[in-house]
C-alpha cells in the first residue's frame, strides 16, 4: 500500500504543469466568469487539449485516448484544477463517446468520435423527461420505426447546453409492453432536424444553461441507433456509474477551498480577519477534512478500476460525498461574502465584494448537483441495496 509518485509520475507532473502554464491563460479565466464568453473559452481550451492529445484521456488509445495510468489521471486532474482550468463538458467526451466506442458500429465511431475530438460537434444529453426525474426508466418519449427512420415524439427536460448542441443522444421508448427498463432505444439525433424545439428554462442561479427539448415527428435515420433496438437501457446504465465517479470534483473543491481561505484572510470582522474566527475555522476545517478523505476515497476507487474492476457501486459514495462537499464549499463562500452574497452584479460594476455575486451563482447552480445524475436519495437507495444488501 502506497501512494508514492514514481520518477516517471513526477516527470509527467512537470509536463502537465508546463502545459497548463501556457495553455490555460488569464484571458480564459476572465472569460469563464461571463456565461456567454465562457463557452468560447471552453471551446478554445478543448482545442488546446486536443492539440496536446489530452482531450480524451479515458478513451481507448485507438480512438484518441492517452493510456494514462490511474496515477497519471489523478495528477492531471489535480494540476488542472489547481491551475483553475475547468473540466471539459462531459456530454460528448465522457458520456456519449464511451457509448459510441463501446456499443456503436464502426461507421458510427468513424463518423462521430473525430468530430467530438475536434470540437466540431457539440452534444447534449436527452435522458430526463418531465415527470420522470430520478425514475429515469419511466421515460415516455416515443420512437416508431417508419421505413428506415424512427419518428420521435415527446419531450426531454433539464437538457444542459441544448442551445449550443449539434447533436443530442436520447433514450426513447420503442416498446411499452414489458417492464419499463426494457423497450428503450438509444438514438443519436441531429439537433437541426425539423420538429425539434428548444425552450430555455430559467433557473435560480440566473444563468441560462438548462432547456426543454421538444420532439414533434422528428425523423431519425435508423443508422443513428446505437446497438440493438430496445436494448438502450443496457448501454446507458453502463455509463451511469462513470458519470457518478466524474461528478465528485475533488480537485476543483480543493481549489475552491483554497480560494475561500484567502478570501477569509482578507475579509475583516471587528478588526480581525474572518479566518481567525473560531466558528469559521471549525466549519472550514470540517469541510477540508471531509475533502481530504474524499480525495483518498476517489483514489481507492480509481485504483480498483485500474485493477480491472469497474467503478462499481462505490461510485454512489463518490457522488453523494462529492456533491455534499461541493455544497459545503459553496455555503462557505456565501457566508464569507456576508451581505454581498445577495448582490446581483449587473451593469453597475463593482458594488461590493467582487466575489459576492459569483458566490451566489455558484451556490444556486450547485443546488442541482444533489439532484441530477441520479439524486443523492436514489444513490443511497442503490448503496443500501447493492452494497449493504438491504
Amino acid at each position: 500500500m502506497d501512494t508514492n509518485f514514481s520518477a516517471e509520475d513526477l516527470a509527467f507532473r512537470d509536463e502537465v504543469v508546463a502545459f497548463l502554464e501556457t495553455a490555460w491563460t488569464d484571458e480564459h479565466e476572465a472569460h469563464l466568469r461571463d456565461p456567454q464568453a465562457g463557452m468560447q473559452a471552453i471551446i478554445d481550451w478543448q482545442k488546446r487539449l486536443h492539440a496536446r492529445g489530452w482531450l480524451a484521456p479515458g478513451w481507448p488509445v485507438e480512438y484518441g485516448g492517452t493510456d494514462w495510468t490511474t496515477t497519471q489521471s489523478f495528477i492531471f486532474e489535480t494540476e488542472r484544477a489547481t491551475a483553475g482550468a475547468p473540466d471539459v463538458p462531459p456530454f460528448a467526451l465522457k458520456m456519449v463517446a464511451p457509448v459510441i466506442y463501446t456499443y456503436g458500429s464502426d461507421e458510427q465511431k468513424q463518423r462521430f468520435l473525430p468530430r467530438i475530438l475536434s470540437s466540431e460537434d457539440w452534444w447534449c444529453q436527452g435522458y430526463s423527461e418531465p415527470g420522470a426525474g430520478s425514475d429515469l426508466a419511466s421515460l415516455k418519449t416515443k420512437a416508431e420505426l417508419d421505413g428506415d427512420e424512427y419518428v420521435v415524439n415527446g419531450a426531454k427536460i433539464w437538457t444542459t447546453y441544448a442551445q449550443y448542441a449539434d447533436w443530442i443522444f436520447c433514450l426513447v421508448r420503442t416498446d411499452s409492453s414489458g417492464r419499463k427498463q426494457a423497450g428503450i432505444t438509444f438514438l443519436l439525433i441531429d439537433m437541426k432536424s425539423p420538429g425539434i424545439t428548444v425552450n430555455p428554462i430559467e433557473t435560480i442561479d440566473g444563468v441560462y444553461s438548462l432547456n426543454e427539448v421538444l420532439f414533434d415527428n422528428v425523423r431519425v435515420p435508423v443508422e443513428n441507433r446505437i446497438g440493438e433496438q430496445d436494448q438502450g437501457w443496457t448501454y446507458a446504465k453502463a455509463l451511469l456509474a462513470h458519470e457518478r465517479t466524474a461528478i465528485a470534483g475533488v480537485a476543483d473543491s480543493r481549489r475552491h477551498l483554497g480560494e475561500i481561505r484567502e478570501l477569509a484572510r482578507q475579509e475583516v470582522s471587528g478588526g480581525r480577519a474572518l479566518l481567525e474566527d473560531p466558528a469559521f475555522q471549525a466549519r472550514l476545517s470540517s469541510v477540508e477534512i471531509e475533502l481530504m478523505a474524499l480525495e483518498y476515497t476517489e483514489l481507492r476507487v480509481l485504483a480498483a478500476m485500474a485493477e480491472g474492476s469497474g467503478p462499481g457501486v462505490e461510485s454512489s459514495l463518490l457522488k453523494i460525498k462529492g456533491t455534499e462537499v461541493q455544497q459545503s464549499v459553496q455555503q462557505l463562500r456565501i457566508d464569507v461574502a456576508g451581505y454581498y452574497c445577495g448582490v446581483i452584479a449587473g451593469e453597475s460594476g463593482d458594488i461590493g465584494h467582487s466575489f459576492g455575486s459569483e458566490a451566489r451563482r455558484a451556490y444556486m447552480y450547485g443546488r442541482a448537483s444533489t439532484i441530477y445524475g441520479g439524486s443523492n436519495e436514489v444513490q443511497k437507495n442503490i448503496t443500501a441495496k447493492f452494497v449493504l444488501g438491504l
Binding site: 435560480i204 470582522s269 471587528g270 455555503q331 448582490v343 458594488i351 461590493g352 443546488r367 439532484i371 443511497k380
Partner: protein, 382 residues
C-alpha cells in the same frame, strides 16, 4: 400564559392574508420586485389605507401603538406572501429610529407621512468593511460650528434607491469600531453631495450604495444624542431582527406546506414521493425545525412585551432566535429545493425565491455563526 392572538391581531393577520391571496400572487409579486423602484406604490398605498404602516408607532404620533406581538403578526404574514414592499426599511428601521430617538420636530414632520404612505425612508448603516459589526464605521460627520459635514460611503442600503429621506450613521468622535462616538443624522436623499448606485439583491430588494461628499447637515438633523447613537441603533435593530425572524417563520411554514403538498402529488416509481419514509423523516425534521423556531419567536416577543423582563434575558432570547432562524432557514430552504427535485432549481416555482429571502434574512444584521458567538459571550459571562 397564553399563546393566542387577540381578536384584533387575528383580524390584522386575516387582512394581510387576504391581501396576499387576492392581490399578491407570484406574478404580481415579481412585477413589483422588478419594477424600477423595487416595489409597487399602489400596494404601498393599500398598506397605508389598511393601517398596517401605523402598527408600531406610538399613538401620540398617530400610530397604533402596537406591541412586539403585533409586529410579529404583520411580519409573519408578509413573509408568507413573500412581500417585497419595504415595510422593514421604511417603517421598522427608518421609522423605528425616529420613533425611538427622533426629536419632537422630527417625529411631527415624518411619522405621520410614513403612516400615510407618503414617505419612503432608509437607514444607511453598513460600510464596505463593516461586515456585521454595527460599530465599525468610517463615515465621518465633522463638526463645523453650526453643523456637520458628512463624508463617507454606505453600502447595501435597504430601500436606498427609493428612499426620500435617509438616516445615516457617522462618526462624530472615537476610533473605527468604537461604540462611543457614533451619531445619526436625518437628511433628504436628494441633498447636495449625495450619490446613489442602485442594484438588486437576490431576494428582489432594490438597494443602493450611497456616497456622501461634503454633505452639509445642521445640528437639528441629529437623531438622538450626539456620540451616543450606538445604543439607539442596537435597540432598533434588535426589534428588526425579531421582525425579520417572524418573516422567516412565515416563509418556513410556507415552504414546509408547499413541499409536503408537492410530495403528495409528485410521483416517482409509480408512487407519490411523499410515501418514501426517508423523505417523510426529513420533512418531519423540517416541521420540527419550524416549530422550534416559532417557539423562540414567541419567547422573544413575549419577553419584549413583558415590562418586568430582564434586559439581558431579552437580548439572549433575540440572539437565540436569530441563530435558529439562520440554521433552520438553511435546513428548510435547502431541503425544500432538494425535495422539489429539478423543479426546485427553476425560477418558475416560487420555492427558490422564498429560499433566497431566507438566505438574505440569515445574513441581515449578522448571520447565525456571528450571533451564536455573541450568545456564548453573553451566557458564559457570569
Amino acid at each position: 400564559m397564553n399563546f393566542k392572538l387577540s381578536e384584533e391581531q387575528a383580524m390584522l393577520k386575516e387582512s394581510i392574508a387576504r391581501f396576499v391571496q387576492d392581490r399578491y400572487d407570484f406574478t404580481a409579486r415579481c412585477a413589483a420586485a422588478t419594477s424600477e423602484i423595487g416595489f409597487s406604490r399602489e400596494n404601498w398605498a393599500t398598506f397605508a389605507e389598511l393601517g398596517w404602516l401605523s402598527i408600531p408607532f406610538e399613538e401620540e404620533h398617530g400610530g397604533f401603538g402596537g406591541s412586539a406581538v403585533d409586529t410579529m403578526v404583520v411580519m409573519e404574514e408578509l413573509g408568507s406572501g413573500l412581500v417585497v414592499e419595504p415595510f422593514v426599511a421604511t417603517v421598522l428601521l427608518f421609522g423605528g429610529l425616529l420613533g425611538k430617538g427622533g426629536s419632537a420636530e422630527q417625529k411631527a414632520a415624518n411619522i405621520s407621512a410614513i403612516i400615510a404612505g407618503e414617505l419612503q425612508g432608509a437607514f444607511a448603516f453598513l460600510e464596505r468593511q463593516s461586515r456585521y459589526e454595527l460599530a465599525d464605521i468610517k463615515t465621518v460627520a465633522a463638526g463645523n460650528g453650526s453643523g456637520f459635514t458628512i463624508n463617507g460611503e454606505k453600502t447595501v442600503v435597504f430601500n436606498g434607491a427609493a428612499a426620500d429621506k435617509l438616516i445615516v450613521s457617522a462618526r462624530t468622535s472615537g476610533a473605527q469600531c468604537e461604540q462611543q462616538g457614533i451619531s445619526l443624522f436625518l437628511l433628504d436623499a436628494s441633498a447636495a453631495g449625495i450619490e446613489k448606485t442602485a442594484y438588486r439583491l437576490m431576494d428582489g430588494q432594490l438597494v443602493a450604495n450611497i456616497t456622501f461628499n461634503d454633505v452639509a447637515v445642521s445640528a437639528d438633523q441629529l437623531v438622538g444624542e450626539l456620540d451616543d447613537g450606538y445604543r439607539l441603533i442596537t435597540d432598533v435593530i434588535n426589534e428588526v431582527i425579531v421582525a425579520i425572524s417572524a418573516e422567516a417563520v412565515g416563509i418556513m411554514q410556507k415552504l414546509n406546506d408547499t413541499t409536503v403538498e408537492y410530495t403528495k402529488t409528485r410521483e416517482q416509481f409509480a408512487v407519490p414521493i411523499g410515501s418514501f419514509q426517508a423523505l417523510q423523516h426529513r420533512m418531519v425534521d423540517m416541521f420540527m425545525g419550524c416549530e422550534q423556531t416559532r417557539s423562540l419567536l414567541y419567547r422573544a416577543v413575549c419577553s419584549m412585551d413583558d415590562q418586568s423582563a430582564d434586559a439581558r434575558e431579552i437580548e439572549k432570547n433575540i440572539l437565540a432566535l436569530k441563530v435558529m432562524v439562520g440554521r433552520i432557514g438553511k435546513l428548510i430552504g435547502g431541503e425544500s429545493i432538494q425535495l422539489h427535485g429539478a423543479m426546485g432549481v427553476t425560477d418558475e416555482l416560487d420555492v427558490g425565491h422564498y429560499f433566497k429571502r431566507l438566505m438574505m434574512i440569515n445574513t441581515s444584521f449578522g448571520d447565525a455563526d456571528y450571533q451564536q458567538q455573541k450568545f456564548s459571550a453573553l451566557t458564559n459571562s457570569g
